[in-house]
Symmetry: C2
Subunit: 333 residues, 2 copies
């Protein structure tokens, strides 16, 4: 049945029922003018928001509706994790043309709700509207962190080690396959792009291990590391041979003639964590996080005094890190 046949009121009721279970943990969830959540002494709240637009961030044929719903929550939870916080709340808004299949919309919401349920997140509100063209999703997420313990981008110090979780460039590889409409066997690349996993447990462990700065890998290593360097007033050296490259990305790059370095250094949407910590504790922390979560952690470089961001290999300086990852408005290179 089409959204225009069901109507806003009925669709809202459907979604409200869907989200009822996760919202049971808050005093007032969906259905009033606003949601009410508990205040808490000793904790601070952390909030972020992301837009997710058809034709810009995704195309409708690229994934199942449930994957889409899951991803638009996942990228917000990834931001909460990157603060060293635990996600707790989500607001979920969507707009679509009236001739959209209502089942599709409910499947999007169901995917989002599944991830919410798995991560202890309550979907506490949202909005629904007609759009003139395309599906539009807007998610805001809130979390909690012990007061004063949020891990900011600004805390990196000279000599700190630079660490990343997971692999670099896989999502960019998956996006390239989608854009070129290649049906391939490179499942790690496809999944990295369509089904990113927010690194919640890894982020809390990094915070507890003494991470000095942290962000998530949304725009690509070069951009995201630049954010940390600029906010911290520091530079960085990246060890080329330590960058974690997945065997499938290596293979696909060779098969299709991709620029592997560009994917690894500037490819966005991996949604791993990028963090810094005192060098002496880095290897032990990497091992501990790997051991407890199963997620690989690599020490990939060092924070340096100054402003230069360079990539080095065993023979010396290789290149400056590219200035930009993905910019929504600038022409794409």
């Amino acid at each position: 049945m089409l959204v225009a046949e069901i109507g806003e009121e009925a669709l809202l009721k459907e979604l409200r029922n869907l989200f009822a279970a996760t919202a049971r943990s808050v005093p007032v969830g969906i259905g009033d003018d606003a949601a009410v959540v508990e205040g808490a002494a000793g904790l601070q709240a952390v909030w972020t928001t992301d837009l997710f637009l058809e034709g810009v961030h995704f195309e409708s044929g690229w994934q199942a509706p449930g994957q889409l719903g899951r991803k638009c929550l996942a990228v917000n939870l990834s931001d909460i994790a990157a603060m060293g916080a635990e996600p707790r709340y989500a607001l979920f808004s969507l707009a679509c043309p009236g001739d959209t299949d209502a089942g599709n919309i409910i499947d999007v919401a169901r995917g989002l709700n599944d991830l919410a349920a798995e991560t202890g997140v309550a979907v506490i509100g949202g909005d629904i509207s007609e759009s003139r063209e395309g599906l539009l999703l807007s998610v805001a997420a809130g979390g909690l962190v012990p007061a004063g313990k949020a891990v900011l981008r600004s805390g990196a110090r000279a000599g700190d080690a630079i660490l990343v979780t997971g692999y670099l460039g896989n999502a960019a590889g998956g996006l390239t396959l989608r854009r070129k409409d290649i049906e391939s066997e490179y499942r790690s690349l496809r999944d990295a792009f369509l089904s990113p996993v927010p690194r919640l447990a890894e982020a809390l462990l990094a915070r507890e291990a003494g991470a000095t700065a942290m962000t998530d890998l949304s725009d690509g290593l070069a951009s995201d590391l630049r954010h940390i360097c600029v906010e911290s007033g520091m530079g960085a050296e990246i060890y080329h041979e330590r960058l974690p490259v997945h065997p499938e990305l290596l293979e696909a790059s060779s098969e299709y003639g991709w620029d592997l370095d560009n994917l690894v250094l500037a490819g966005g949407e991996d949604y791993g964590l990028l963090f810094t910590m005192p060098a002496g504790a880095a290897d032990a922390a990497a091992l501990a996080i790997e051991g407890q979560t199963g997620t690989s952690v690599a020490v990939i470089g060092e924070i340096k005094a100054g402003k230069a961001m360079t990539v080095v290999c065993e023979y010396g300086r290789l290149a400056d890190l590219p200035e930009h990852g993905f910019d929504h408005f600038l022409p794409h290179g």
Copy 2:
């Protein structure tokens, strides 16, 4: 200069600077993965969100960009107020085509920021993206309320008086003028539609005076009162002659042949408050709120046991309240 010429990074920086003053009150505002706000013992947080889409909620020629920014925050603050809470935080996302004038976008943000500054709201985050078509705004707002004191829709009891602030139908009158492209002298109607004022002080006074249920007038009296009645398991009787109709709406309806009752009972977007309270205290509370804020408050009816919602005049039952206000997807009557 066009948004595509400035680029996302520069536009973000511009907006970050613009919002810097309001965000000074929070531990971490715009610029990290997420914002950090203070937790608080004895308080609960209240969150809401609204989409605002060109071609659906507004047309670009209808208002100055600053009015648009102000309105998309105002409607969220109105929801916070309707909970009996004080607004404190806002997240502001926007998407537009690359060929949008960047000055326009900054003016939208400036309008939003002005209202934020006037109301003590910190703009703590947001997102910015390209859109394929039209301007898209998404705002989430958070506020604080003493624990357990939020005024829900579900608290109305039989015998409670029903009160509204301000006038009914003015915004619908203003919308009708805009849609028909009538340049008129009916300034109260135009302003009600383009520049709604969230009733923040009025809402706190209503809560303190013992409001049992409250919502804001976004969908029109019939719909919004139905929300209170359904959530409270009650019915209602509305006194036709007590409905607050502005002289300009009366005059415009007569001049253009509008259905005045329909505008007053079902016209949306007035963003006044609709609340209930014990009948014995209603007149005094209405006077007190009027005296302290200058906003008129009218007692317009009574909550009744049962489910019927009727409009009565001095000669008896006039009509059932219409079932629907505005529905985004159902055909408009």
